[in-house]
Structures are given as C-alpha cells and as structure tokens.
C-alpha cells in the first residue's frame, strides 16, 4: 500500500455472532494489515500526531518499526511513555486524540494509530518479551517510598513512572481486583480480561507493590500515609459515585446504576452460572443516557439475553457523547434508540419492581453552556415505555470517601480535588492527585496523562525535600 492510501478497516466479529458471547468484537490487524497500515504513515517531520497523545508516544517512531517488521521493538518504544499500550490501543477515543491531528485525517483517513498500537503490544506479548530485565534509572531512589491510591489508569501510570525512576511504590486499591473502570466498567467484549491482567502484571514487574482491599480514608487516612513511611501520596481514586435522575420511583427494584449493572457482570461475573452474585436477565431493558457507559450497559444487556434494549436519551443523535464507533456497534447489534425523550418518573408493580417509565418528548432549543442544543420538554407529551430493567447511566462524580475523611483537602463544589495543574499537587503538601477524581469522568488516556504529570511532580517534590540534584 502506498503512503497515504485508503485506511485498513478493523476486522470485527459479525453482529449476530458477537451478541451471543462476551468475546472481543474488534479482532485486531493481521501482520499484513498492520504493515500495510504502517506504510500509510508519512513519517511527518514535525510529528503533529504526537501532540494529540496525552502521553506523547513517539507515534511515527513506533509505526516505522512495525513497517520494518519489528513489532517487539515498536512495543518497547511505546512503553517508554505508555505502560498500558494494549489497553489504550483498544479504548482510547483516538478520533478525538492522536488520529484527529494526524495530517491524513484532513482527507478523513487518518492512520489507524490505535489499531497499530494494539497490534504492537499484542504481538510483543505473543512473541514473549526477549527477557530484557527491567532496570530502574536510579536505584538509589528506592529508599524513598510513594503511596498510590487507586489502581485505575491514573494510578497504574503514576506508579509505573515512579518505579521506572527508581522509587519504591505501593498501590492501595479498595476493591479485590486491580484496574478501576478498566476492570469493573469497560466490558470484556471491548477489553478482554487477559489483556488487562497482562498489562497490570507488567506494572508489577517494574517492582510496584499492589495491596488490594485497602480503602484509603477508612482503613488508613491520606495524611496517615505520610506518617507511615511514604514521602508522597498520589490520589487516583477516579469518579466512582453514580449520578441518578432524582425523579419519583428511582429506588424501585430493577433500577440499576450503570456502575452496579456493569460491576455485577464485569467484576463479579454474575452472568456465569457458577459465580454467586445474582443479576436479573431483562426482557425489556431501558438504558438512560448515551455516553460510553450507556452503550456498554446496553450491549451487555443484549449479551445477557434481553429481548429488547432501548437507549433513552433527552437530546438528539448528534449530541450523543459516546465514542462514534461504540454507537455504531450498538446499533449493529440491535440496540434501539429513543431520542429526544426524558424520563419523568418510574412506575412500579405491586412487588415494588419497575414496570414502566413515564417519559416526556423533548425539542432542541438554543445551545447551552456545553455548546450542545438544550432539550426542552414538550408539554403534554407524556407517554410510557414498558420495561422490567432500567439502567441509569448518566455518569459519575468523585467518590466522597477521601473528601469526607480529609477535611484539609481542597475540592470543587461538585467533589473534584483541586490541584496545581503543572505539578499535580493538592492543597496538602506531598499529596498529589490526577485522573477522574480531579476532572470528573474523562478518558483513560487523560487519566494516564495526569498520572504522568503527578509522577514528575512527585519526583521534583522528593528531590527538593531531600536536596537531591536533578
């Protein structure tokens, strides 16, 4: 394939096959496809694509190695700045990031950077790493310990960067498994568990210690960590608390938050018969919202065996915030869309379980603060949608546990931790934060970028404190 030629499409499982299992939908490039795609890259001198990647991967550099038939070396280049390439290659909103600023995107055909990143990472794993031993930059630093709270993408990235520098790092994770949203939120058909496990293992192989089942703020206070031998703390606890509509009937049984629905399945494996956690298989499920979480919930409901799954969203098609690719996947799989529709209240049966949603039709008015046209209810347009399961997927706010138990920590009124954006430091000296807990729900790669900024900030902080030269 010539430079700048047409883009290779990602091979996918056909919809009728994929809705019967949790197998990964996107199959990844073959060797030939990858090399062909890599040949499209123009190897631009000023590398515009790199500025679109929050962790500044040397994109033309790794693509060149794929082109030359050395994906293992390509993976090494990526891992210099991104410890989780197989994950990012799968879930990054590339169209809004690196691929958006690729020079070829002007013709609507950006290089498939994410797919190539995934290819390099997966090939490296298949071929087995060639036994290259990890050596920290400065082993002297190992006498300084850093605590990382949360094992989502922000925490894993901060931890791996610090470990690479030479620090002793301990991750504290509240749940019994690592990964944060990567584990309990994003379903297996988008991010298989063995890929996540593999990349977490890689972080461990850098010497990072992971302690699960430790709820910071409850078992140990944030400031206590500074008295327990840690020089600095990074808070990467994410945005875990689900938002609800606050309308009548919302606590009827059968109404789940997106987090609860996905956690029961992804973390607790409720859909597998030998696992104890229960789940209701819906006949007709309604998912409220149209972000990534909503698409994941809807597609998961289909795979559980729901006869009908409908996304209920108060704005129009163009306003749906989920990744375009996932909306398309959901549609292909048979998810229905009830747009310009807003729930008014939930109706229950005599057992206190939901049986229908009363909705109002909406019209789009002037653009609001978010730049999207504001939905306005149409008076008297009430109608009912019958359903036995409702999943409210409206997004999440930061979890209150750390805020409630750390009064000195300055936060926004909506709960986000306030930091100095250059260093990641919070209002408490030595305590840093980043990821969704600072920005509210964002993206995996943005959380990783924040983890990197904080790791650099922590490095400077510790060096200054101990008068080490830089």
């Amino acid at each position: 394939m010539a430079k700048g030629g047409p883009r290779n499409p990602m091979p996918k499982l056909p919809p009728e096959v994929r809705i019967r299992s949790f197998d990964e939908v996107a199959l990844g490039f073959s060797e030939e496809q990858a090399i062909d795609e890599a040949e499209r890259c123009l190897d631009c001198k000023n590398k515009p694509c790199v500025s679109g990647c929050p962790v500044n991967i040397d994109i033309p550099g790794f693509i060149k190695l794929i082109r030359e038939g050395d994906p293992v070396a390509a993976a090494r280049v990526i891992k210099r700045t991104n410890a989780l390439p197989a994950i990012c290659g799968r879930v990054c909103p590339q169209k809004e990031q690196c691929e958006k600023v690729c020079v070829l995107s002007k013709k609507g055909e950006a290089v498939a950077i994410g797919a190539l990143e995934r290819f390099a990472a997966d090939r490296e794993a298949e071929l087995g790493s060639s036994g290259e031993q990890f050596r920290p930059e400065n082993p002297e630093l190992s006498k300084y310990s850093v605590a990382v709270v949360g094992s989502g993408p922000a925490g894993l990235t901060a931890a791996s960067d610090l470990a690479r520098m030479g620090y002793s790092v301990t991750i504290f994770e509240a749940l019994h498994k690592t990964g944060g949203v990567l584990r309990y939120g994003i379903p297996e058909f988008r991010l298989p568990r063995h890929i996540l496990d593999r990349e977490v293992e890689y972080v461990r192989s850098l010497g990072v210690k992971i302690l699960t089942d430790v709820v910071i703020g409850k078992a140990v206070g944030v400031k206590d960590l500074l008295r327990e031998g840690f020089e600095a703390v990074f808070i990467g606890t994410g945005a875990g608390t689900p938002k609800f509509l606050g309308i009548p009937g919302e606590n009827l049984s059968g109404i789940y938050s997106g987090n609860e629905w996905l956690t029961r399945i992804n973390l607790m494996r409720a859909h597998e018969s030998d696992y104890a956690t229960p789940i209701k298989v819906p006949k007709r499920a309604c998912v409220i919202g149209a972000g990534n979480t909503a698409m994941d919930c809807a597609r998961t409901a289909l795979r559980l065996g729901a006869r009908e799954v409908t996304i209920v969203y108060r704005r129009g098609r163009a306003e749906m915030p989920a990744r375009a690719e996932e909306i398309e996947n959901a549609e292909e799989e048979g998810v229905k869309f009830q747009l310009l529709t807003n729930p008014k209240r939930f109706l229950g049966d005599q057992r206190g379980a939901v049986r229908a949603i009363e909705c109002l039709k909406m019209e789009l008015g002037e653009p609001d603060e978010s730049g999207r046209r504001r939905p306005i209810p149409v008076p008297g347009s009430e109608f009912q949608i019958e359903c036995d399961i409702v999943i409210v997927a409206l997004g999440q706010n930061p979890n209150p546990l750390i805020r409630m138990t750390t009064p000195e920590l300055k936060t926004e009124p909506w709960g986000g931790i306030i930091i100095d954006p250059r260093t990641g430091m919070t209002s408490i000296p030595g305590v840093f934060a980043g990821g969704d807990v600072v920005t509210g729900e964002a993206t995996v790669i943005a959380a990783m970028g924040a983890g990197k900024v904080a790791a650099a900030g922590i490095n400077n902080f510790i060096r200054e404190k101990h008068n080490l030269d830089r």
Partner: protein
Amino acid sequence: MASQKQSSQGLQWPADCKLANIEPEHLRNIIVRKERLAPTVTLVEVRAPLVARAAKPGQFVIVWPHEKSERIPLTISEHNTEAGTITLVFQEVGRTTIELGEMEVGDEIASVAGPLGTPTEIDFYGSVVVVAGGVGAAIALPVAKALKEAGNKLVFILGARQRSLVILEDRIREISDQLIITTDDGSYGRKGLVTEPLQELLAEEKIDFVFTAGPLPMMKAVAQVTKPYGIKTVASLDAIMIDGTGMCGGCRVTVGGKTLFTCVDGPDFDAHLVDWEELQARKAFYFEEERSQLSTLSDHQQLGGE
C-alpha cells in the same frame, strides 16, 4: 522492619513496621478462631490488621470468601488491635454465608475490606435501650458496649425465634445494666416479641435513645413503638451491597424522602424516617436467583453444615 514472626499462619503483622514496608502477605485474612454459636450462626475471628486498627462501633467489612463468591457486608462485632484481628458473627442464610461457615481455622478468606460505613454516633444520652433480634445481637454488641462506656444506663432486649438461636448472651449480660431475653416460642426468657418489653419500658420510665439491629420487620416494629414517644431511634440497615464504598448505588435507601447510600451514609439511619417497604422490596429482588444458588451447594451444606 523488625521482629517479623513467621508462623504457620503466614507472616505476622510486624508491630513496629510502617505501612510503606509491609508486603501483601502481612494482610492475608487468615481465620484464627471459629465457634459455632447456634445451629446456623457462626463466629470467626480473622486477621485483618488494617481493619482492626481503625474499626469503630457500627462499622462493617465487605467479605469475599473466594473467587466465585458474592461480596457480602458483615458487621465488625469485635476487634483486637494488638492481635490484628476482627470478629465476625454471621447467620448462614444463603450460598456465601454457608460457604464462609464451612471455612476452618487456618483457611484464608480471599478478601476482607474495611472498616466501612459511618460509625454509630455514640453519646451520653442517659437511658438507652438496645433492641436486637437474632444475629442482630452481634451487630448491636459493639454499639451497646460503646454506649455503656459513654456512661449510659443500658437495657438490652435480645430476641430470638427459639432458645438455640439466642447468641452472645454472656457477652451482652456483662455490659448491660439489664438484659431482657424473649423467644417467639417461649423456650427461653419471655415468650413473645421484643416489642412487648420495649412497650412496657417506655410506659414505665424515660428512655432517651433506642438502637436496633436485626430482621427488617423487627426494626420496623421497634420504630413504630418508639415513634409516639418521640424517642430518637437509630436502626442499622442491611441493604444489598457490592462494593461498600459508594460506587454502585445498589445499597440506596430512602430516608426522610432523600436517597442515601447505606454503605457511605449509613448503615445507621433514623428509624422513623426510613422507607421500610422500599427497602424490603429491594432486599427481596433476587429471591429466585438466591434460591437457585443454593442448589449449587451439596445437601450437607444446605443443612447449614450441622
């Protein structure tokens, strides 16, 4: 890092070791003691050093016995900071509690996370009554103890279906100024429900505070009895949970018209404001699924292991 004792139960928590130096092995949740308190009620003392250091009355842990289990909340009935252990008392009502009851001293529980929830508000109220039913005795014990230590006069009303289900009687008697036991069938103590002696107490003397833990219908009945007297009444709710950290919203309850999360805002709530019917419906939602889980257990297990 000094004095690491290596024992048959894995690495012991090194007393003067800082958190920065501990290893995952130090936090392994090994069962060190097990007692059967009643035919279907078991006590286990389990190592959970970080939980034991921080536990306060009214708090709970989320327990995940093994890879295929559910995550279930259990109250920290007692804790021993020095030994780094906590005591859990549970009734074997379904798959996870039955499987937990089968574990023996030396076994490792895959995960014990906590202490979770907002501790009970302990204060000097004056005269307090603690009303507990069944395994609620274990939930109420740490709260009752703290109320007594705060200087309150403590009457403990302990109810059970029958004599064999009366648990922790000696521990409770030790800390109470008065202990009243009731059984449904009259096989021990007074015959009848806990609300009867409560009713009489309220009619006789001034009671300043009531705490209740146990089966939902009992807590609801207690709230109905104290309401006309305007006595502050707190119930420890047992909503269905997963994470216990405010992440899933599955444990939400309506209290005074507001939606709250049991695991973060509770488990204690003003019993006069709780929407009991809604809580009951939410708790019963998985009834069929829970029944079918039982069929995965052997006949022996279904009998509660006795």
